[in-house]
Amino acid sequence: MNERFTERDGELATASLREMAARIAPAREQAVLVDGVMAAVTDSFFSVESPLGAVYVTAGPYGVRYLTPAASEEEFARRYRERFGRFVSPAEGDEAADLAERIEAAFAGERVEVPLDLSRATPFQRRVLEVVRGIRRGEVRPYIWVAGEAGSPGASRAVGNVMANNPVPLLVPCHRVVRNDGRTGSFAFGAGEKVRLLRAEGVSPEEISGSPYVATPTTGIVCHATCRNAKRIQPHNRRAFRSVRDATDAGYRPCKVCRPVAAA
């Protein structure tokens, strides 16, 4: 049989193969298919202005996953891949634009809902991030308080680690979490930036440092120094305390709004 196969036969076969190749194409528009691949293999990102300068944001269908300052898109993309093992691509469409607007409004102090996707965090990390998310602008809380509120009293150090790796700084305001003695402490983007951010929110780091708790004899209550109740205390009634224990030893009871906790 092989003798019957000639060069001419080979040419015929290859010609029909080549001709056919040109005809095989996806039935659906290729752009749609490429978009489908992109949605699965990359996380889309955009940048917004923030109190930390330009920050880059990635968001999935459930909300913001990651936010960080970076010098350029490229630097952001490299860091993102290092951290998550995934690539990024520029976000398109109204949803991203809408989210970017919300984020900028939140940075400006407006009360807008910015959905967060914390599904990549462990349950403990998520609890800590949710607690910190609730700390209002103009207020600060110590690590020990965050640990207690997250259901793990005494886990101050672990809270510090969660703060250091916070995937969504500013949106989860880890700069509002301070050392147990009231000093502002470290910040992933620089201790000086933390002080600057807090001042811009109306917090005076000097006042809190060393005396993070304030009590008043008129009510007999001790608060975090930035608790909204503490701010109403008349200057002549202000009693500053270094720790909750010192205050309770002096006969004060903890505020039910800001729930200060004594160190173990």
């Binding site: 036969d9 015929l12 194409a25 490429v34 993309a77 490299r78 990024v88």
Partner: protein, 191 residues
């Protein structure tokens, strides 16, 4: 002209897209997908002969590829020959899916590309059916050489076969293919 120069660069082995992925160029991932989607689809379709199955296979291949690329070091990305590497993944995905299908026989909803006329479809499906009857290595070799227009050096890079082996497999495959086309003339025997 510019496109042609770039194509020559990456088919010759040096692939600037690897460096762009390493450098964090945010447009690089889409460029990789756009550059290879159609040819990988064509390969997957030639094996699976069904649109949806081909789309799924290509999607799966890209997902596997990016999941690996995401974990590679920058040095490794820079040194990558992305095209043969993408082909290796697609070949595996398509072959595995074909095997799964044979284990669980389904009806054959063979369909081909949107704009094609019925006659075109039939002609394409005839040739693909012929290809499908070849022994696997011959089918892969002929498909890569003529459907995908791949030079022997690159076929060797994709499959790991020496170039001489690839040439032999292509020659034998073509021979068989031609035989099947002669023995089963189109449109015959129905009237």
């Amino acid at each position: 002209m510019k496109t042609r120069t770039r194509r020559q660069e990456w088919t010759a082995g040096f692939d600037p897209l690897g460096a762009r992925l390493a450098d964090g160029d945010p447009l690089a991932p889409r460029d990789l997908v756009e550059r290879h989607y159609r040819e990988l689809y064509r390969y997957a379709f030639s094996v699976l002969r069904e649109e949806r199955a081909a789309e799924d296979a290509v999607q799966d291949a890209f997902e596997r590829a990016f999941s690996a690329l995401g974990r590679y070091s920058e040095e490794r990305l820079r040194a990558m020959k992305l095209r043969p590497w993408m082909y290796r993944i697609t070949l595996n995905v398509a072959r595995n899916r074909l095997r799964q299908r044979r284990e669980v026989p389904v009806e054959e909803p063979f369909v081909v590309g949107g704009g094609a006329s019925d006659e075109d479809r039939e002609a394409v499906m005839d040739v693909l059916a012929g290809l499908g009857k070849l022994p696997e290595r011959q089918r892969v070799a002929v498909t890569l050489r003529y459907l995908q227009d791949m030079p022997y050096a690159e076929i060797s890079g994709v499959t790991g076969w020496p170039e001489g082996t690839a040439k032999t497999l292509v020659r034998r495959g073509l021979m068989r293919l031609r035989m099947s086309m002669v023995e089963e003339p189109k449109g015959g025997g129905q009237g």
